[in-house]
């Protein structure tokens, strides 16, 4: 940036290269990154997994794993070369000059030390105070990060706090010695949209108040655009583009940035637009099916189901919905809203405490979940799980994973017919045939997601329950998977029950949307209308919390 070159930058990184020594030899994670940061500036560092964005952050703060090493380049902080700083220099740097907040805030806090003690530890590391003074200071920091009931939280342990609260505590620790630079590594990944907004607003406010320069490392372009004045995009260890967020979104220069911008769902994007021209999966011409003849039963009719847990808490209270064949319905809400519990009751993995579930006119709510696998209808209701890593048996090859439901539910035998069917499914989800013999750990995240989808459609189900199917995927992979799901739905006239916390994805994928809160339906209706014009405050809050890229959005660091 030419304008900022006149002032002396707080941080300068020149041609930084970081190498990791792994079992398979040296891997270069960062290959020549240069960037500079002015005091008080908020810089977004955006990229997908493996882009080296976090490694860059850890290299700057000298928190790299033992296996990682800065092989080349220079890091200058306030004009001083800190590339090879060690020992005492590093200790005074850490916390006092630069601090970091991390992804997964609960794991980042010591589980057996109270929150107050941990903040006091950080204060005492750099200042000569008595333990009491440090505790008092810690309390005022907790107030600064707007934790409710700070006096009581002082003696709380991390497991007693919610994820958002843990992140606030982490922020309190990070700012305890007033550093001039804060590096936030995916600070809100894994938090609800509303919590994300609150935490990010707080972070931006504190940074502005204290004149703290911030590097926001994130995979979410929208988030970076909302809070940062300048955004840097990384791909495979290199910087590919640097610009103001609006320029970046409206006139991306680099092909990778173009792909990334297109893949990020926005309030107006359509499934077809997510993947740029050349790589788009050709949409098959699907003739609209004639409406089902009169008198056909609803595909799914859920009547007043309730889920009470053993300890008396109510997970879902009085939930009803109906679906026709081929329809797609979205289920959204914050964590703890009961959306996963509801979807699991409907796909008969857990039992409802009360109420009725009719599938194709047959009551299935009464069949214990334990025995439902023997039901004729099991193959009609299939599930795609959230985590493609954990939901595949690590000892099954991709082929075995897809063949398993065919063997168990369709009574197929091992042989040519089975092989044909599995290969057909793999082809439909775009999984190359040669990958079928691989084990899950030999597949990428996107490939694993495809295996999970192929497994779910192998038995030709009529209802597919998708529980956050793309939450663990990079946006560009998510874009392709969403397109794939959309095509499969049209081709097979599948009905989708789509559970997600990502409102933009639900809006694109679903005809209708149901908003849940603490186990009860808050609002429902046609997706487009519901998101464009929410009727309840809660839905509006959810919609507003989604970081948008639209031009009129105010930039928080202004």
């Amino acid at each position: 940036m030419t304008a900022s070159a006149s002032k002396s930058p707080l941080l300068e990184v020149e041609n930084l290269k970081v190498t990791f020594s792994t079992r398979r030899g040296l891997v270069e994670a960062v290959r020549g990154v240069s960037l500079s940061l002015q005091p008080g500036e908020m810089l977004g560092l955006v990229g997908e997994s493996g882009s080296g964005k976090s490694v860059t952050g850890f290299a700057i703060t000298h928190l790299l794993d033992k296996a990682g090493r800065i092989t080349e380049g220079r890091i200058r902080f306030k004009g001083q070369d800190i590339t090879r700083a060690g020992g005492a220099d590093l200790r005074s740097l850490h916390g006092a000059a630069m601090a970091m907040i991390f992804q997964n805030p609960r794991a980042a806090l010591n589980p057996i030390r109270t929150v107050g003690q941990q903040i006091a530890d950080a204060i005492l590391a750099h200042r000569r105070l008595s333990r009491q003074e440090a505790q008092a200071e810690a309390l005022s920091l907790l107030k600064a990060v707007q934790i409710r009931d700070p006096e009581r939280r002082m003696s709380a342990y991390p497991h007693e706090l919610s994820g958002g609260m843990c992140q606030r505590v982490m922020i309190a620790i990070a700012i305890s010695c007033s550093p001039q630079l804060l590096i936030a590594d995916e600070p809100t990944t894994g938090l609800d949209v509303t919590t994300q907004k609150v935490v990010m607003d707080l972070l931006a406010k504190i940074a502005t108040e204290r004149g703290m320069a911030t590097i926001l490392i994130t995979h979410d372009l929208g988030l970076a655009a909302r809070y940062c004045a300048r955004v840097v995009v990384m791909e495979q260890g290199r910087l590919v583009e640097e610009a103001a967020p609006l320029t970046l979104f409206h006139r991306p220069q680099h092909p990778y940035t173009k792909r990334l911008v297109a893949a990020s769902p926005t309030a107006t994007s359509r499934i077809e637009d997510l993947v740029p021209g050349g790589e788009r999966i050709p949409l098959v011409e699907v003739t609209e099916l004639p409406p089902a003849p009169h008198g056909t039963p609803l595909l799914l009719d859920v009547k007043n189901i309730v889920k009470r847990f053993d300890d008396g808490t109510i997970g879902v209270a009085d939930f009803s919905m109906a679906m026709r064949g081929g329809e797609s319905v979205g289920l959204v809400g914050e964590s703890g809203s009961g959306k996963s519990t509801t979807s699991r009751m409907i796909c008969r993995l857990i039992d409802p405490s009360e109420g009725e579930i009719l599938f194709d006119g047959q009551a299935i709510g009464g069949i214990p979940a334990r025995d439902f696998h023997r039901s004729e209808l099991r193959k009609d209701i299939q599930i795609v799980f959230q985590d493609p890593n954990d939901s595949l048996n690590p000892r099954y090859t991709a082929f075995d994973c897809i063949a398993h439901p065919l063997l168990r539910l369709m009574n197929m035998r091992a042989g040519d017919k089975l092989r044909q069917r599995v290969e057909e499914c793999a082809e439909r989800v775009g999984l190359p045939r040669e990958l079928l013999s691989r084990f899950p750990h030999q597949l990428s995240g996107g490939q694993k997601a495809r295996v999970g989808i192929a497994r779910a459609i192998a038995c030709k189900p009529r209802l597919l329950v998708l529980d956050e199917p793309t939450a663990a995927l990079d946006v560009s992979v998510q874009a392709v998977v969403l397109q794939l799901l959309n095509r499969l739905r049209r081709e097979d006239n599948l009905a989708f029950l789509f559970v997600s916390h990502d409102l933009n994805v639900v809006r694109m994928m679903c005809d209708r949307t149901i908003v849940l809160r603490t186990g009860a339906i808050v609002e429902q209706g046609e997706s487009g209308a519901l998101f464009a014009n929410p009727q309840t405050d809660y839905t509006r809050e959810l919609v507003d919390a989604v970081p948008h890229i639209a031009p009129p959005m105010a930039v928080a660091t202004a």
Partner: protein, 343 residues
């Protein structure tokens, strides 16, 4: 506080749930002793030439002529009244014998465990701080040797070096040499009783007597403790919260001890409990080598002469101690880990 109450409640529940197991141990040992070959009546007859009638009389005195279930009921009723039977070997009540010998065993085992913990935890921490280094390999070698060499060999070796060659250690027989007057028995633990009596000379004599057998036992259990410390320290040092601690510039000591070690110590507590119970029962070899008047060597002697009552009493005692140790571990866990009360 609330957490302590919850921990106590949990410990109480654990204790109640372990009672059936204790009962099972009781019945099982009883049956096992009856199945093993050897007839106590023959052993305790006046001599090898004792006639059939004499043996029959002894058998009737011992109640061995009654059917097994009857014997079991009588035995259980006695145990219920706190009567563990009479040892044919010593002629005393088993409960009294055990009570006299248990402190000796406990004193030895606790000292050994203390030595083992004090050396194993730092060794494990050092090894974890520099994995793959010379220090790490040195610790590994030391641990392997400790496990490979049987206690009676390492015991004899220590005696040879420290008693025979160097002369540091006293005559390795028993808890105290015959010239020292015994302190009034209050706890049964000699080093405590001497202190209570204010007899420092006696105390140092007892402590010196204790060192060789205690080190012999400690050598054997340092390995599992050091390995588990190293493994859980490695996990702890690689965790996110240690990274956080580094990111705010805490001192090295704070990071390693307060953050990493305090979290890593939880599995060590569990293993230490198991190690302690094992040591108490399995230290018969050490007791034999050092002529230590403990419960394990008492039980072994009794077993060799088919003296039922002491063996059954010993097994019951061990099972009870095992339950108590587990309870203690539970309580410690509840104090060391605030999350334990939630689970």
């Amino acid at each position: 506080m609330n957490t302590i109450g919850a921990t106590l409640l949990r410990a109480g529940r654990r204790f109640v749930s372990s009672l059936p197991a204790l009962f099972g141990v009781l019945v099982f040992t009883f049956l096992l002793m009856r199945v093993l070959p050897g007839d106590p009546a023959v052993f305790f007859a006046s001599g090898p030439n004792a006639g059939k009638e004499e043996i029959e009389v002894i058998r009737r005195q011992l109640g061995l002529d009654k059917p097994l279930p009857n014997q079991l009921v009588i035995y259980l009723a006695d145990v219920g009244r706190g009567n563990l039977g009479r040892s044919m070997m010593t002629g005393q009540a088993v409960a009294k014998d055990l009570k006299e010998r248990l402190p000796a065993s406990l004193e030895l085992t606790l000292t050994a465990l203390l030595i083992a913990l004090v050396s194993a935890v730092p060794l494990g921490v050092i090894a974890a701080l520099r994995p793959g280094s010379l220090v790490d390999h040195g610790v590994r070698l030391f641990c392997s040797l400790g496990v490979c060499v049987p206690t009676f060999v390492s015991g004899l070796l220590l005696i040879y070096v420290f008693y025979y060659l160097l002369g540091f250690a006293p005559d390795p027989t028993g808890r105290i040499d015959i010239f020292t007057t015994m302190p009034p028995s209050r706890t049964g633990f000699l080093i405590i009783d001497f202190l209570l009596a204010g007899d420092l000379e006696g105390w140092s004599a007892a402590a010196r007597q204790l060192m060789l057998p205690a080190f012999t036992m400690a050598l054997f259990v340092i390995a599992p403790l050091a390995r588990i410390t190293r493994a859980s320290m490695l996990v702890s040092l690689g965790s996110d919260f240690v990274r956080t601690a580094r990111s705010v510039g805490l001192s090295w000591w704070r990071i390693v001890v307060t953050y990493a070690l305090r979290n890593a110590i939880l599995p060590v507590i569990t293993i230490a409990g198991i190690v302690f119970s094992t040591m108490l029962g399995a230290n018969v070899l050490v007791e034999k080598v050092f002529s230590w008047p403990g419960v394990a060597s008492y039980a072994l002697d009794a077993l060799l002469v088919s003296d039922y009552a002491p063996v059954q009493g010993f097994v019951l005692l061990m099972a009870t101690i095992f339950v108590i140790v587990n309870l203690l571990v539970d309580l410690l866990y509840g104090i060391a880990d605030p999350r334990a009360t939630v689970a």
